[in-house]
């Protein structure tokens, strides 16, 4: 535990904030006791991990899972944490699901936007020669329409 004290410590600012919000206003916590609580939190993580891992090994699993952590907490006499943790876990799973969906959407959007410029370039390439001809045909059609309009199409029915 004394090998890498920096790595094993949790951020003091967060610990301090949690402590402050847990206590009534006006209560002061000494630097020494705040530091001790932070250390206790680190020890808690290691102890919880160890207990959870033992539970996983008992179940003949190599992967530490959520059920192992919950079982460990019961063994450590922190069973009162379990109901709330289950709620947090559901929220976390929903968040992870949402992130996955968003990621898939982004991936699909990227694929479709990647396809569109290719099409345009294909059209440009393939019709480069033919465009002028097509346009020419179109012009003729337009001219024909106008002529028709002048003669027949745009005359009001009543006038007939």
């Amino acid at each position: 535990m004394a090998e890498k004290p920096e790595d094993l410590n949790l951020p003091n600012s967060v610990i301090a904030r949690i402590i402050k919000e847990a206590l009534p206003e006006g209560v002061i916590i000494s630097k020494e006791s705040r530091s001790a609580i932070s250390k206790a939190a680190s020890v808690f993580v290691l102890y919880c991990t160890s207990c959870a891992n033992n539970y996983a090994l008992q179940q003949k699993r190599k992967t530490l899972k959520d059920v192992d952590v919950l079982a460990a907490l019961e063994e450590m006499e922190f069973e009162n944490f379990v109901p709330q943790l289950k709620q947090f876990l559901e929220a976390f799973k929903l968040e992870q699901k949402g992130k996955k969906t968003a990621l898939e959407k982004r991936r699909k959007a990227k694929e479709s936007s990647a396809n569109t410029p290719e099409l345009t370039s294909d059209v440009e390439k393939a019709d480069a020669a033919g465009i002028g001809a097509e346009m020419g045909n179109l012009d003729e059609l337009l001219v024909m329409d106008t002529d028709d309009g002048a003669n027949n199409k745009f005359e009001p029915i009543n006038s007939n």
Binding site: K39, T49, L64, N80, F92
Partner: protein
């Protein structure tokens, strides 16, 4: 929603109303206060652990937050009767000796 608040109030020894508020705010913002990455580093420090799922790391993170909150409140209870307003290390040592759930901390806080 109201059921959650009631459950929180009933089931949690340590987190009265603040717990439910935190649950709702955290759902809208971040789910954890402690950095999950740092907890993962601690978990991986245990050589016996090969793989840990995302959910397990998350749970340990949240459990640690609850632990800190609970510990602070329990320490406060010790000095509550006395006239001082400052919590000292001796108060922490006192609950490590008296409360069973904190027995694992014996000798670790020196």
């Amino acid at each position: 929603m109201s059921m959650e608040i009631t459950d929180n109030a009933k089931t949690s020894k340590c987190l009265g109303n603040t717990g439910s508020e935190h649950l709702e705010t955290e759902k809208c913002e971040r789910l954890t206060r402690l950095p999950i990455a740092r907890i993962r580093t601690l978990v991986k420090a245990d050589d016996d652990v090969s793989i840990a799922s995302q959910e397990s790391i998350f749970l340990i993170t949240k459990a640690t937050e609850l632990f800190v909150e609970c510990l602070a409140k329990n320490v406060y209870k010790v000095m509550q009767g006395q006239k001082r307003k400052t919590i000292y290390k001796k108060d922490l040592d006192s609950i490590v000796e008296t409360l069973d759930e904190y027995a694992f901390l014996e000798g670790a806080l020196e």
